[in-house]
């Protein structure tokens, strides 16, 4: 199968959907003439004149306009260059987009996607490196997606564009230019369905974003010692594919959750709580968290590397759970 990057996969998803539906437009900083800071929207302004808007640096108005357009039936995809910038837009994302269907008594549908690059790994320090999936996932009314492969990014973005709910779509920045298999023919991936990235019998590792490939590397290494690790990528943070995770834990009896975002009040806590509620009797060891440290992301390359889980951190916890 052909191999393309996640940025190319995102570009294809946008292009395919915009070709099908003249009622979709995209807006954001640098997305038109420049083709996006990470090339995700390259060539789209030429192909879709009037439907690709270069905006001023106005995150609040970008989100407000995207929401307002979606509210009136025009599907909008807004790009935030860094998820950190979306804080300025959070009023519209959270107070407007997430709540209006409910507070308007079901009168509104909001087909809007807020795309944003996410995470650390490029020495951009504390205001350009955060992982905000849990902040958004905490808000009823939002759907939150974080793909870890070009294949998942394309299929999920297409689903997000066609969903009539506001979706926050987090794209791990360090994965933009990594290649993966993506078929030529069209496909979508349903929102809310996780994926077993590697089947295993001894321990379940739930990982998101960049942590998926790290967990897979650990699984590969441990397989050589006869340890069988199942790696699950929920892909959608909200709604979470609880069923898939619980079924896996019932099989393996062990759970480790790995994420880049800080540990405290993080996704691992939520997933572990769900498993404790639904599969406590199946557990053979205490569930464990492997997560980012509770620090802002530092500039220094070595410190930055240490701020989020490394393969050896994941490996150590997997081994500990098997003792």
């Amino acid at each position: 199968m052909r191999q393309i990057t996640m940025a190319e996969a995102i570009n294809e998803a946008l292009r395919e959907e915009m070709r099908k539906d003249p009622n979709i437009f995209i807006l954001g900083e640098e997305i038109g003439l420049r083709g996006g800071a990470f090339t995700c929207t390259k060539g789209l302004m030429e192909e879709f004149p009037g439907r690709v808007l270069d905006t001023p640096i106005s995150e609040s108005a970008i989100a407000g306009a995207a929401y307002g357009a979606a509210l009136t039936g025009t599907k909008a995809v807004a790009e935030f260059m860094f998820s950190d910038f979306s804080f300025i837009a959070m009023d519209q994302i959270i107070n407007s987009a997430a709540k209006s269907r409910y507070m308007f008594g079901g009168q509104a549908t909001i087909p809007v996607v807020f795309r944003m690059s996410s995470g650390s790994g490029r020495q951009q320090a504390a205001q350009h490196s955060q992982s905000l999936e849990v902040l958004y996932a905490h808000i009823p009314g939002l759907k939150v997606i974080m793909p870890s492969t070009p294949y998942d990014a394309k299929g999920l973005l297409k689903a997000a564009i066609n969903d009539y709910n506001p979706v926050v779509f987090l794209e791990p920045r360090v994965l933009y230019f990594k290649k993966g298999e993506v078929p030529e023919q069209e496909y979508t991936i349903p929102i809310g369905k996780g994926d077993i990235k590697r089947s295993g019998e001894d321990v379940t590792v739930v990982a998101t974003g960049v942590m998926v490939e790290r967990s897979l590397a650990v699984a590969e290494k441990l397989a050589r010692e006869g340890i069988s690790v199942e790696v699950i990528d929920p892909r959608t943070i909200r709604p979470l594919d609880t069923e898939l995770i619980v079924a896996s834990v019932k099989k393996t009896g062990r759970l480790i959750v790995v994420h880049e975002a800080p540990r405290t009040y993080g996704m691992a806590g939520e997933i572990i709580a769900l498993v404790m509620e639904q599969a406590f009797d199946y557990l053979n060891a205490p569930p464990q968290r492997v997560a980012g440290h509770d620090v802002p992301i530092p500039y220094n390359r070595n410190l930055e590397r240490l701020a989020i889980p490394l393969e050896e951190d994941i490996e150590a916890v997997v081994r500990k759970s098997l003792k």
Binding site: F25, A61, G64, A65, Y67, G68, L71, Q92, Y102
Partner: protein, 325 residues
């Protein structure tokens, strides 16, 4: 003003009637609030009716409005269902928002009321989105955004007006300057005398008008709506007015200088039109009384409907969080 002669008697009496509907609706609310039948955050626009009615008289059904926390009047003027509104304010199941939105989130998508906003300034961005939607779809419609002087000091206002001008969007920004942002007076929150001068810095026309003169509102908004409809971009209109009952229902208004309310009551926008209708012999006193009585009756009917409406059921707590196919 020549605009007065261009309005038919029917148009003028409709404006007069609509203003009474708004006032009756809101003065009833004050009473319902006292009785704890309506509750929570509630902001009334009594004294500001000419802006809602004068502005919306220029709009078509397919045009849209985005309003603020003080939005009952705008919703009514745009044609929102009165019974559904009253039922919503009484938190009933067949309210426009099924009893889950209340005063600050009143919406009626069927007539282009895109919702009241509980966050000051947020509406400006949403209006830009509605206008963008019209432009992308090639529709010759207009979005009118009502907000207060408080909103004019938010970042959203600045970003949105710049963006609306940049893309020449069909939107009319109407700042109802009622002199106070909560209890902070305009002079204590803003260095300039007129909000409208900001329009120039965004590259759009701006004007300050008497918000209690319905003819001035109708004419100014009409020109701005026409400009927007023709694709010539947004306008900022500052309509100077006053809210009789303060920021929220129950506001003791201790921040007002003595005599201020009384001076503004002399400039009652409804009385202004009434005097005009009588002086120009467009209506006799009997007709005026008839219109007032009809407005009172319409509100009484809306109230009867609302009072007869059921409360939401516990299971309704969980509906409409997400759209499900």
């Amino acid at each position: 003003m020549d605009v007065t002669t261009s309005l038919s008697k029917e148009q003028l009496t409709k404006m007069y009637y609509d203003m009474w509907i708004i006032r009756n609706f809101e003065e009833n609310l004050l009473d319902l609030y006292q009785k704890n039948l309506a509750y929570g955050g509630m902001h009334v626009s009594v004294g500001e009716e000419a802006i809602a009615v004068g502005a919306c008289a220029n709009l078509k059904r397919e045009d849209t409005i985005v309003t603020s926390h003080r939005g009952h009047g705008h919703c009514i003027a745009k044609g929102a269902d009165l019974k559904g509104m009253m039922a919503e304010l009484l938190a009933r199941k067949n309210g426009l928002c099924k009893g889950k939105g209340g005063s600050q989130h009143i919406v009626d998508m069927s007539v282009g009321v895109l919702g009241a906003q509980g966050i000051v300034g947020a509406g400006c961005g949403i209006a830009v989105g509605s206008a963008l939607s019209f432009k992308i779809r090639g529709q010759k419609n207009v979005c009118v955004n009502f907000f207060g002087d408080g909103a004019a000091n938010t970042g959203s206002f600045h970003e949105s007006l710049n963006m609306a001008a940049l893309y020449s969007l069909p939107v009319v920004f109407i700042c109802e300057n009622n002199g106070y942002a909560v209890s902070t007076s305009f002079a204590r929150s803003t260095k300039i005398d007129k909000i409208s001068v900001r329009a120039g810095s965004y590259g759009m026309p701006g004007v300050t008008i008497d918000g209690n003169n319905i003819f001035e509102v109708y004419k100014t908004v009409g020109e701005a709506v026409e400009r927007a409809r023709q694709g010539d971009g947004p306008t900022l209109i500052e309509a100077v007015t006053y809210r009789w009952y303060g920021h929220y229902v129950g506001d003791p208004c201790t921040y007002r200088p003595p005599g201020e309310l009384e001076r503004w009551k002399e400039k009652d926008p409804i009385l202004f039109l009434e005097k005009y209708l009588l002086a120009n012999k467009l209506c006799c006193q009997e007709e005026i009384d008839g219109l007032k009585a009809a407005a009172g009756k319409a509100i009484a009917e809306a109230l009867d409907y609302a009072l007869a409406s059921p409360e939401p059921e516990p299971a309704d707590l969980f509906t409409d969080v997400y759209f499900e196919k």
